[in-house]
Symmetry: C2
Subunit: 402 residues, 2 copies
Amino acid sequence: MSPDVTLGEFEFDCGESVPDLRLAYEAYGEFTGDNAVLVCHALTGSHHVAGRRRRDDTAGQAAAWWDDIVGPGKAIDTNEYYVVCANVPGSCYGSSGPLSEAPDGEPWGTDFPAVTVGDWTRAQRRLLDELGIPHLHAVVGGSVGGMNALEWAKRHPDHVDRVVPIAAGARLDAQCLALEAIARRAITTDPEWQNGDYYGEEPALDDGPTQGLALARQIGHVMYLSKASMEKKFGRRSAGMDAARDSFELDPAAGFFPYREVESYLDYNGERFAERFDANSYLYLTRAMDSYDLAAGYESDAAALAAFDGELLVVSFTGDWHFTVGQGEELAEAGRETGGRVAHHVVESDHGHDAFLVEPEHVGPPLADFLADGITGRAVTDTTETDDGGDFAPVHTSLFSR
Amino acid sequence: MSPDVTLGEFEFDCGESVPDLRLAYEAYGEFTGDNAVLVCHALTGSHHVAGRRRRDDTAGQAAAWWDDIVGPGKAIDTNEYYVVCANVPGSCYGSSGPLSEAPDGEPWGTDFPAVTVGDWTRAQRRLLDELGIPHLHAVVGGSVGGMNALEWAKRHPDHVDRVVPIAAGARLDAQCLALEAIARRAITTDPEWQNGDYYGEEPALDDGPTQGLALARQIGHVMYLSKASMEKKFGRRSAGMDAARDSFELDPAAGFFPYREVESYLDYNGERFAERFDANSYLYLTRAMDSYDLAAGYESDAAALAAFDGELLVVSFTGDWHFTVGQGEELAEAGRETGGRVAHHVVESDHGHDAFLVEPEHVGPPLADFLADGITGRAVTDTTETDDGGDFAPVHTSLFSR
């Protein structure tokens, strides 16, 4: 099991409080006073960033989810940096959330306060205080973890030198908001959800509306892949007779049609996910992502970032339609507007949003060099360096936004 | 009510039969021997193509769905052409399908045979025989209706002079197959589905798993719009307090967050759709679309089209990711390969797949001119005419495929 800390009473942005916020976290390397790097996990990730051994507390894709990037001699080199990652409040891997125990001894369920990315950031700040880390060399995060990193630049601009949002943006667009909303409805319309009050005597990750949660995850998988990567990975191929077709009850007429590889992939991964993640946490964390808006409380994204005078590396992927290259460029533009030192490093990739997890060979080098040398790092490129940088600019006219 | 015909015993591609296939259809204009145009409706459309008055049998978007295109003096001019449209077998607007009465006096439900686009085409051929129409001037269809049009060129190449697939392709790609599969699971996991046996004493369109069907439709709406059109139409705006938030039970934590316009749109349209469409038909028709492959039984798309020596107009839309411009170009290439007279007319549009319904001003002129003069029609353009035609070519390297 990972260490955890209890941070006392914590008031969430929504105004509600819990009497004693618990955070599960993991730390790697040795703290030397100026080498702390905070890693922020994505929606369904955990504090368990790296190290493929042991662990009962995380599983599947939440376990050692960035082992290719974080470790001794890797891009975020734990021989050099002291790396900390905390499971965010509202999640289900040891930190306080719907699955954890409320003061009455029962799981919180949906009585747990609504959480925001701002809450995560404030909780991380308190964790670092506990650990005696006043200042961060860097905050790095992918997807909604990238929003979490941005929130550090906005909320604690003097506490961090370098910020790296990867496959992220200042806010979700309407298309992604729609898909997230549908995914939540798949959970809440599952009769097993029971208004969030579905936990058994020994509350477990696989309690509750497993079919609805599996459906929600299936929608997520489509968002995380690109059209091209799905075509390459699955095409229209039949999964063959061996493939389990029993995850979901299918319509009787289905018998005449093939069970395709893409369905088999979705069913398998949906089912596995429902075993390892709490459905209420999925509702909470997607709401936090949906509601995040870098500009909230400010005039603009640029204004929100104005007080941060560290360096910003935005990493985006050409095949990502969850957070597009256009959104990455908007973010970089916002950083540049107030004279910030910013690089927008675009990775050519067909892997879609998942690229930040599955292309360590393209993410590692710019990340390592940025941590060492900032935006002048050797492997770091910037869209302003190339003639066609303008192609990436405004999301509304970008091809990616169609 | 529309006319309907009973066509006697009909054996489906799956090998099962119904004793007396019924087709509801609509005809507009006067038949003069060589002026018949068959219109093929999309997934959830009906035979009721045009004419905004009367009608108890179709509603919502199924009613007069192409009234901007079909009618006196319109692009498909009913003063000139005899226009026929039939509700496809498996649908729920009067033709035989799961909702219709089986020989035992009960609704067929999922005992109705699986249907294919080939079945639709053969049924249409028999309907035209009944009506005394041996030969068609043209077959026109949008989305899966475009696949239906292609199937005419493949199956009855000598019975039609001009074929117009609009916002269509030779087959669905893996990304769309995935979303369709998830949509079906939303229906079959709704406990009200009851293995398809959900009809009341007086079977009606709104019987059954309305929440699952609404969710399926919500997924469809995302597929029919583009990223850009959703951003413009909804952005991240809150729907305001007036918006009904009661279509779906929401998680209690939702109270802290806005109910957004995009959610309100999805909820409203999902609910309306569940009132007007049969859930089993949705399963049947999406399976027909998913399984369609122009090349089936042939070496290639080109081989499947080789016997057709009429003219082919492929119309595609730049913002459509359900059937991309790249897929349109692949189709046109297949037609060109065997020396066919083909034009691929690309419409610049941010409207996504819906463009074929909502941009009559861009669809009408090339369609009208093609019906009159073939690919030499004045408003018809072709990708081979422009230098950048190559940009549209192979779907795998197209930006749209990312």
